[in-house]
Amino acid sequence: MSGITLPSTATSAVAPAVPAPVRKSRRRRHDWTGLVYVAPALVLVVGFFLVPLCMTAWMSLHNWPLMGNPRWIGTANYKALWSDYNFWNALLFTLRYTVAATAGLMLVGLALALLVEKPRRMAGFYRTAFFMPVVIGFASASLLWAWLSNVDSGLFSALAQAFGLTEGRVNLLATFEPAFWSVTIMVIWKMAGFYMVILMSGLQAIPPDYLEAARIDGAGFLQRFRHITLPLIRRPFALALILCVSGSMLAFDHFYIILAGGPQNRTITAVYWIFNQSFVSFRLGYGAALSMVLLAILVVLSVIQLRLLRDREDAR
């Protein structure tokens, strides 16, 4: 994640070439005070991330039922996982969903950010309106959507029929394509405001002189966008992209609540499968092994994104 931080921290970490004795001791004292400052954060990270992570790794080496006694089985969970057709299928579906959701969220988020970035009349109102869905919980939004999509008493099917788009009422959740897109659109509706805020902060940090100079030189809107705006929001864009991809890879609630993995188990995400193994089949150890694999995949994906979006100065 270090790529997100400012380059200044990266350079300051390099020790000075010729340390004088006096400065050295002061520096050491500095180090200690620094440690005190980060200690609370460190405690949280150790307590709520590192320790559970180690426990998960430990559990993944056991046959660990939800009830009863765990038994050491070494890497057997990982070997079993290798041929777990359902898990890889779920992962494939998760990737497909991630691509769809990320593309939608980034495009809509950027469009909204461009729309509300300048302090226009009513900009505050629109910003608030676009951000509102973000503060609804995923579970409540999913329940809302489940009812809106209900073919007998919901809104969408009736609306489509009234507009003459469909002949009779169509059950949106009964076949894969409409069900998948219905959920994806819900996610875009709900989360676009969040990415709008991130990207907007980037847009606002672009000095207006650049754009003005370009305009005077005769650059059109698209040219300005392509050659000035996009390169300058690289950092917030990278942040938004990584959050979006890792968030989508961990999708669970909406597929669980709206579709229950249906139609015909085709919308089971990786986390859904982990949940099923752990709390439906009571195989916590196996679920832990799946979680470790998913974590590794997420780390790889994040590193790839950081590399692709790295600033040229960092690369040197």
Binding site: M67, G68, N150, V151, R169, L173, A260, Q264, F279, F282
Partner: protein, 416 residues
């Protein structure tokens, strides 16, 4: 590794609670949220009825009960007793979490009057680990107003499949959004409760050899699927049934636009209080050519392995099995589980309860320690098969049954 952590918690709790312990010996009792109406009343009455023991009740959200209990058990802070969805009793007993209460059970003079289905699921390897506590039987309900409108006898519910189909057709023909039949088509828990009785009543079963063998590949199952398939295909069922994960299980019939629906006895109380104007009848879930069956659901009372408060739990059970206890249960949404007192306990209540109580007394419950995997999971073989076979193409029926049969058998065989 989890144990020491929870152990510390238990120690701390013990130190805090130590000096204040009352004269009465207190035992802890958990119940799933489905029992949140009757359980507090029974516990309150029990605590008031004597002073030697005191039950301390905690209500746990139904979907979290198993996880919560498992975590507590791992940490040594499991409740002394638990009112557990009866289908989970074999799984809990198999995991070695429960106390063998065979002697306690056999010593009850009315042991042979207790719900057979509950005791059967409470038995694991010939020892008893759970005793019946609350009851919920599956039945068929029909809307009398719609029957009258359609020119059918409003006081006579369907008694075989052909009648279900014929009645549903007539009600659908009324139009105006009225449909003949409803079921939750994507809910494994709902369909084991209401669909298997159709198979049982026709002489089939989905398990054999005490849950060791899955037997889906039967003519009875095919016929039952064909009944549902046919009604779906001919538009006698609202389209939402296909994707109903159980949210509409009760609500659809309560709208008054559905002619016939399988339901549970809990629906009687709920309909009477929430929809007092809905005229409905209750009958048994019939077999193909008559006869009937029912899924006996509800809770078993189980005792945690390490508890030492067995005297208090025995007293609590005896109170629950008394006429007072059974009456309290009956008035608050559960069926009585003691057959010889059922009539008395239900005296003065809606007569439709009697049918449910009768259904319960002769009801059945599938027995398997992997019920969650096989049946309840929305993604398990049972639900996947039914959804595909009932709503899919005609060609999907046979592959769906074959796949489910294989998957179920392999889950049973590889169960730990």
């Amino acid at each position: 590794m989890k144990t020491w952590f929870f152990g510390l918690g238990a120690l701390a709790a013990g130190l805090l609670a130590g000096p204040g312990a009352a004269d009465a010996e207190t035992f802890s009792l958990w119940v799933r949220s489905d029992g949140s109406t009757f359980m507090p009343k029974v516990v309150e009455a029990f605590n008031a009825s004597q002073s030697a023991h005191k039950a301390e009740l905690q209500i746990v959200p139904v979907n979290e009960l198993v996880q919560k209990y498992a975590v507590a058990a791992a940490g040594g802070t499991a409740p002394d007793a638990l009112s557990l969805d009866l289908i989970y009793t074999p799984a809990f007993a198999a995991a070695g979490q429960l106390k063998d209460i065979t002697d306690l059970a056999k010593a009850l003079p009315y042991f042979d009057q207790l719900s057979k289905a509950h005791v059967a699921t409470g038995t694991y390897e010939n020892r008893i680990y759970g005793l019946p506590f609350s009851g919920d039987a599956s039945v068929l309900v029909w809307n009398k107003a719609l029957f009258r409108q359609a020119g059918l006898d409003p006081d006579r519910g369907p008694t075989n499949w052909a009648e279900i189909r014929a009645d549903a057709e007539k009600i659908t023909a009324l139009g105006q959004g009225n449909k003949g039949f409803y079921f939750s088509g994507n809910c494994g828990g709902c369909s084991i409760f209401t669909f298997t009785p159709l198979i049982w009543a026709s002489g089939g079963d989905i398990f054999a050899d005490g849950g060791k063998r899955a037997t889906l590949d039967t003519p009875q199952l095919r016929d039952a699927i064909a009944l549902y398939r046919g009604m779906v295909k001919d538009g006698l069922v609202p389209a939402g049934a296909q994707t109903d994960t159980g949210a509409n299980f009760f609500a659809a019939f309560a709208t008054g636009k559905v002619g016939i629906a399988p339901a549970g006895s809990f629906a009687i109380g709920a309909l009477n209080t929430q929809h007092p104007n809905l005229e409905y009848g209750v009958t048994y879930l019939p077999g193909k050519d008559g006869g009937w069956s029912s899924f006996a659901g509800g809770d078993n009372l189980v005792v945690s392995r390490d508890t030492r408060k067995i005297a208090g739990i025995r007293a609590f059970l005896e109170f629950a099995y008394s006429l007072e206890g059974q009456t309290l249960l009956a008035r608050n949404g559960s069926l009585p589980v003691r057959a010889d007192l059922a009539k008395q306990a239900l005296d003065g209540l809606d007569r439709r309860y009697l049918i449910a109580a009768d259904a319960m007394a002769r009801g059945r419950t599938p027995y398997t320690p992997v019920c969650n995997d096989l049946i309840n999971s929305a993604n398990g073989p049972w639900n996947t098969m039914l959804n595909a076979a009932v709503f899919g193409d005609a060609g999907a029926v046979e592959p769906a049954i074959r796949t489910a049969q294989e998957t179920m058998q392999s889950i049973i065989d590889t169960a730990p």
